[in-house]
């Protein structure tokens, strides 16, 4: 199909196109006029139409305007200046682009702020562990069936990990497996799998202040959510404990509330 093919609406618009060019003419009409001028079937008729219309307008313009009416329009501000309508402004492609870009920037900033609001020392490491939890299979861990609280002795005796204690809120929960590994920054991480609600526990060293090397601790429990998993974190004696499960913060809340 030719790019100058005219739809029925375009033909209709060409037949009522402004006789002299006007800045307010909309884009559709301008396109219709352009296509009518280049159309093999319509170009001649359109040229005749334009000549006809211009001849009629020439006569119309000879009609005198009464002096009284002319005086009114000269002296009185009767016709308000046309304001740019907000709809017209909103449809401008430049305005749409700017609005979209602004929306994206605001979205990214909001996301960053929201993340910062929930941040706490060790939250970056905790997020990594949630990603790991999502991809861990039970067979990757050594089989250890005992109470979670009892594993602190195992970690100390076997791996020389001090204060890798499971908090009392989760200490009585039966475990299925455990392992200790080094993360990509060489930190020793203990991972425990629990059959109850397919939870996983993680113990890892808390972040340290780069200036004085002191552990950056915080009080109480902190929640975080990442990739469909929820975690609840506590720091004790320089070690972070995190209980993780697939779900939301509300699924973990009863365990923490129980201890209170």
């Amino acid at each position: 199909m030719s790019i100058f093919h005219m739809s029925r609406r375009e033909k209709a618009l060409a037949r009522i196109a402004p006789i002299t060019e006007k800045s307010a003419t909309d884009r559709r009409t301008r396109i219709a006029v352009l296509r009518a001028k280049r159309s093999k079937t319509m170009a001649t008729a359109f040229a005749h139409q334009q000549t006809f219309d211009k001849a009629v307008v020439a006569i119309v313009q000879t009609i005198p305007v009464s002096t009284e009416v002319a005086e009114w329009f000269r002296n009185e501000k009767l016709i308000p200046k046309s304001k740019r309508r907000w709809r017209k402004v909103a449809r401008n492609p430049a305005v749409i682009s700017v609005a979209l870009a602004t929306a994206v920037i605001i979205g990214v900033m909001t996301l960053n702020v929201m993340e910062r609001l929930t941040d706490f020392p060790g939250s970056a490491m905790a997020r990594k562990m949630l990603t790991l939890a999502a991809s861990t299979r039970g067979t990757e861990l050594d089989r250890v069936e005992t109470q979670a609280g009892a594993l602190a002795d195992l970690f100390f005796m076997k791996y020389r990990l001090e204060h890798y204690d499971v908090p009392q809120e989760f200490a009585d929960i039966k475990t299925a497996g455990a392992r200790v590994f080094d993360d990509d920054e060489g930190r020793r991480v203990a991972q425990i799998s629990v059959p109850e609600k397919r939870m996983q526990f993680f113990l890892f060293p808390v972040d340290r202040n780069p200036k004085d090397g002191k552990p950056r601790e915080f009080s109480g429990w902190r929640y975080l959510e990442h990739e469909g998993w929820a975690g609840v974190v506590k720091v004790q004696s320089g070690v972070c404990f995190m209980a993780a499960m697939k779900g939301e913060e509300k699924d973990l809340a009863p365990y923490v509330a129980q201890a209170k």
């Binding site: 009522i16 008729a45 005749h48 000549t51 219309d53 119309v60 009284e68 329009f73 016709i79 046309s82």
Partner: protein
């Protein structure tokens, strides 16, 4: 619109006075279309009071290449009489179109018609006017 300069002047002066009154009350007309809408209403009202043109189907023919020469032989009065004899809304459509003041969108808003309808009214008016021109001021080629 009226085919009579005095009547048209009377109608438009009444419109301007009404606009001035509204402006005086602190409620000026919303836009320039208000003037033409109001004047159109007044012209139609005046037209109903006078002698009515008989409803008849006019012949139509294609707009010709020499139409401009035929039109040049007319004066404004002939044109006004011809347009004012057309039935409304064709009369209003032709009057608004040949004022050459409005965009198609404004004309559609002013006359409250759709694009296709407005196009048919103008197109048919043009063809009828050409037919009338051929009957009243025939053009003969120089050759």
């Amino acid at each position: 619109m009226t085919g009579d300069a005095m009547k048209a002047q009377e109608a438009f002066q009444a419109t301007v006075r009404e606009a001035a009154l509204q402006a005086g009350r602190g409620e000026p007309p919303q836009d320039r279309l208000w003037f033409f809408r109001d004047a159109r209403g007044r012209c139609l009202q005046l037209g109903e009071e006078g002698i009515q043109a008989e409803a008849a189907t006019l012949e139509e023919c294609e707009v010709s290449a020499h139409a401009a020469k035929q039109i040049a032989q007319l004066d404004a009065e002939h044109l006004a009489i011809w347009i004012s004899a057309a039935p409304d809304p064709q009369r209003s459509a032709l009057a608004a179109y040949y004022l050459d003041e409005f965009t198609p969108r404004e004309m559609m808003a002013l006359l409250e018609v759709k694009c296709g309808e407005l196009s048919d009214l103008i197109c048919s008016g043009r063809r009828q006017f050409q037919s009338w021109l051929d009957a009243t001021t025939p053009h003969y080629d120089d050759e």
